[in-house]
Symmetry: C2
Subunit: 389 residues, 2 copies
């Protein structure tokens, strides 16, 4: 499933480790067999962008690529000119096998920062992944697994449009924050899309999905979301329908990241409503989602609305106008703060379920926004104290 | 010691609990016996300011107060009109005992948000604290203990100027972030200061001390720093010397907060140098200090410079210009990242000591700024999952 659900796509996976390395597959090749080779991306705004981000953004300027190579375990970030050469050589290798120009091969990397790739192992992995290429469900499922790092489960989506298909996979569970996340996401479709259409649709979809999740407030050097269209269905989609499908796919994958947040026991939806505009609602929701104190409280099953309003109170009035004396906060439907004061008894709130809804009403206007985050647990600390990434 | 070190100040403490409450002293009264009653404050910019913050900022508009009453355990925040009435009634009670106008009594509260005070217990505590008033070292030490919440130790400072003294106390160990921190700080001096001088000096001192520490990125509803001058020494200080002493006192207390950060095992100094201006250096240092991933890495004794640069990379170029390919990062003097690439072997870094210095050089200009933070440990999560604040 995943990226091979749409017609025209093949995936292959391989182990690309030094001798004595892990037995895990960590290299993935996805090939678009056409007839179209539309490919567009959205990339991290981090100023320390990894070599593969620099490469891929550049080659996708014209909106075309025939293949992607993804390695997991090493981000090839902060590796200077040598890292850029390694990315380019990976593209050259894949291009040679596929009969493409190197500038038609996108590269993504995820994993530790500040280490050069073991290029021999990567290039040999590209050979193996090429030999493994297949268009069946199994190949797609293997690809979604091979891109994982600290993920505990693979994350995929498949959707059907009117005569065309859309499938996707994502990896990521830590260093997740607007903009984007430590994540690599690839969505494929057999709809007929030109690069301009694809780019507009992908940007919109990211804005309301990956840009509205926050695991730990940390922005990665490697975040990449790619959309590739083969046109193999022959169907030129209604763009409104396609946008809705793509939004759905991205939101679904973003939620799966939150569900797999490092060490998380609760998924938390912060909804801010009653704002003057969506921008203000989003600023408020992000401020609350970024509170370590709140995230710890939820880990302890404590509906601590004081930590909600104290975070809300850090948003400047110029970003979101509201009167603190009118604000209400609900935890799972129980209005624990009403008019800026204590409301219903917090003991009425049940936080034992894995999903927590925190609804904040500014009672100012009619705009709203959601941000998803995770609780902050002992396990998060353990994972991130011990993992070098 | 602490606030009774300077001549003209007395402190008294009391237990102000409901029947069956804790045996801990939690109410403190500090009285300025003059001859001057200069008093100024710096307050949290949080929009959900607690009742005592609203009260105290208002009554200090003219720069005069003769006493402060501080209760710990309940912040009297998000308590609406009734909370404001409780603060006012506490001031009226203390004023009656001291022969002052209520508008000459500052009030500070710290603790849980969203609960009304047990006013009877507070008022009875004010009576007891008044009966306990004394100007000796013991009284000052007791005051510094009585204002604590999750603090593990009391935090005080005493300094000598040319013919005058300065003493202070602070509480705070979590919800610490610019601006200010979840903290109550009171500094007293027997120097002769008028309100204008005191206000300017206190704002400057806060800017380079309490505003440059970050335990968890969370800004409190109650942060308050007060400076009171009795003039009892009869010495009108050289303001340059006084500023230096006050800066030192505030920095010392801020560092003690970091040293007592909730669950912290390491104190981390983030120094950004080589910036075009101090503002840019500070923006960079704060971005790095706010990284949960970095704070977990330090907890695990891992000099993870990838997490330093990925945080640095989130600062917009408009705030701090630099070339990522020229940035260096040292952990305790070992240059693990040089020119945006791996430098010396991270294994050379010893992170077993409690103090960690992370020095970032942007190689752009000559400005620098320091921000102090703590590591993020299992104990932080435990403290904040179990404590309702």
């Amino acid at each position: 499933m995943s990226v091979t659900y749409a017609a025209g796509f093949q995936a292959g996976t391989a182990k690309a480790h030094r001798t004595g390395g892990s037995e895990r597959k960590n290299l993935t090749m996805i090939v678009n067999q056409g007839p179209m080779d539309t490919a567009v991306g959205v990339f991290t705004p981090n100023r320390f962008r990894a070599a593969p981000v620099i490469w891929t953004e550049r080659i996708l300027t014209d909106g075309h690529a025939g293949a992607v190579v993804i390695n997991s375990g090493n981000a090839n970030a902060c590796t200077g000119q040598e890292g850029l050469e390694q990315t380019r050589n990976t593209a050259i290798k894949a291009a040679g096998l596929l009969g493409l120009e190197p500038e038609r091969v996108a590269i993504c990397s995820t994993g530790i920062i500040g280490h050069l790739l073991h290029l021999d192992a990567i290039l040999s992995g590209v050979d193996q992944a090429h030999a493994d290429l297949a268009g069946d469900d199994h190949a797609g499922a293997d690809a979604a697994k091979a891109i994982m790092t600290t993920d505990t489960t693979s994350k995929t989506v498949t959707l059907d449009g009117a005569g065309y298909r859309l499938g996707g996979m994502v990896k990521g569970s830590g260093m997740i924050a607007p903009q984007l996340a430590t994540m690599i996401c690839l969505i494929t479709t057999d709809a007929v899309l030109d690069p301009g259409q694809a780019r507009t649709a992908l940007r919109r979809a990211c804005d309301t999905s990956f840009n509205r999740i926050d695991v730990d407030g940390c922005m990665s050097t490697n975040d990449t979301v790619l959309l590739m269209a083969s046109g193999a269905s022959g169907v030129r989609p209604d763009m409104e329908e396609f946008q809705a499908l793509l939004d759905h796919a991205c939101s679904d994958l973003a939620r799966q990241i939150i569900g797999d947040g490092e060490g998380a026991h609760h998924q938390i939806r912060i909804r801010v409503q009653g704002a003057d505009d969506e921008y203000g609602a989003l600023a408020c929701a992000r401020a609350v989602a970024g509170s370590n104190l709140l995230k710890c409280a939820v880990a302890g099953n404590d509906p601590n609305w004081g930590r909600v309003v104290s975070s809300l109170g850090t948003v400047p009035e110029s970003e979101a106008a509201y009167d603190p004396a009118r604000v209400s906060v609900d935890f799972n439907g129980i209005r624990v703060c009403d008019g800026g004061k204590p409301g219903q008894d917090p003991d009425l709130v049940d936080l034992t379920l894995p999903e927590v809804h925190i609804d904040i009403d500014l009672h100012q206007g009619s705009a709203q926004a959601d941000v998803w985050t995770d609780d902050l647990t002992h396990d998060y600390v353990a994972i991130n104290a011990d993992y070098t990434s």
